[in-house]
Symmetry: C2
Subunit: 229 residues, 2 copies
DNA sequence: TACAATCCTGACCAGCCAGTCAGCATTGGA
DNA sequence: TCCAATGCTGACTGGCTGGTCAGGATTGTA
């Protein structure tokens, strides 16, 4: 009897459903392996894109035989989706501060700073996301049209509310978000360009802080946020 | 005697050097073929990236047999470089208006508008460029460190000069360029995200104009450009 | 027409890569 | 200790893809 039929692959474990008992008993092994694989896969997919990445390279980076990857993830595409899912959760966070009763200067400033920090600490995730987008977002179209759109619509209403209270200009908040996302992600996605123009071999923490503060200042003033001079 | 030895491939024709006479006589054939191939290659590379693109697909889109591609471009990498070279020239242009004696509001505004227009009309080129950057810019590192850096340094001095004359804030012009490039290119590179959030199936001319004017206004005010309210 | 230079292409090949599978190893509960 | 479930892996394969090549077709000049 082939073992395959009783396997439960990582990409299927999206809930605490009624998983066979034996699975739960050894789930620390599974969890450790899956974590290692996802980490290696993120790095390789970021560097080479989906087509350019090879399962062999991911396996080597994870320190596992290639066949072991296929034990946990049926296909390369399934592994890629898992990496994407893992990173998408990062993108939805950080907007907590944007609320009707918050101060625009503080909330927007903090949001931009948080985005910039996230981009710097999760460069590979940012690049995987960017790559997916560049090629038409075939795997995450649903996420964009649902979760993301809902979130942006909601936060846009907050910004409209701020404008109505005279705390800032009336603007199209959605395009403001596009600009913020683009301006922050460029330091991860287009790092070679940034480094080349700055004449540095790598982006230092200080340089990023400098960029962040200038960006915050420019955007706040650009939106006429009260208190930003 | 193999024909190969007398071939002159497209990627070698970078100057008006002493090319064999017979080449010049039929150069309209060569020119037409090369143009077709580059166009098809740009589209396919934009959609699939370097690794994901196949010579067969490019050939089909160009309406040529695959072997014919290899007649004009030795390798896939050579074809890719040619596409990149072709698009890089686009990126260096458009900065003519940024001069010491120009009006910042007019010059910067026009620059942003031009970038946005370029991005919209050359979406595939933008995506090929973005893809190259995402993967570490292995083919164009030299271009970034030389031509691009020189250009940005020069234009940054202009902006410093404007600031010194009190026409705008003192800012780090290089990061301003990063923001402008990112904010404009996002409408090409991340189009799926933009469309999803806006709830549209495609970006209309009107929507882009709307985005452009808001971006111009925000950046000019954000830099304290005199005359932008 | 003769001819050289260039253009063009079907057929082929070698290497790479995702995915498979049989069988062995390990785990942990009874 | 036994045993079922799960973990693990070397060796293999089929298909795809970049690249080659021999040889024929066109072009334009003399």
């Amino acid at each position: 009897m082939p073992v395959t039929e009783s396997l439960v692959h990582a990409e299927d474990l999206d809930a605490t459903a009624d998983v066979p008992v034996a699975l739960r008993r050894k789930e620390h092994i599974r969890h450790a392996a899956v974590t290692d694989i996802l980490g290696a896969a993120e790095a390789v997919f970021a560097r080479a894109g989906f087509s350019g990445a090879t399962m062999a390279e991911i396996a080597e980076l994870a320190g596992l035989p290639k066949a072991n990857l296929h034990y946990y993830f049926r296909t390369k595409a399934a592994l890629y989706r898992a990496v994407l899912d893992h990173t998408l959760t990062l993108w939805l966070a950080q907007t907590d501060g944007i609320r009707n009763d918050a101060d625009p200067m503080q909330a927007l400033g903090d949001y931009i700073r948080a985005k910039m920090r996230l981009t710097a600490t999760h460069r590979d995730a940012s690049r995987v996301f960017a790559n997916e987008m560049l090629h038409g977002a075939p795997h995450i179209g649903g996420y964009l049209r649902n979760e993301l759109k809902t979130l942006v619509d909601e936060k846009s209403r907050v910004i409209d509310h701020w404008a109505q209270k005279g705390l800032m200009d009336r603007i199209d908040a959605r395009h403001l978000f596009f600009t913020i996302w683009a301006a922050t992600q460029t330091y991860a996605d287009f790092q070679p360009q940034v480094c080349a123009v700055l004449g540095k071999s790598r982006l230092t923490r200080a340089e990023l802080d400098h960029a962040t503060e200038q960006l915050v200042r420019m955007i706040l003033r650009g939106c006429g946020v009260r208190g930003s001079r």
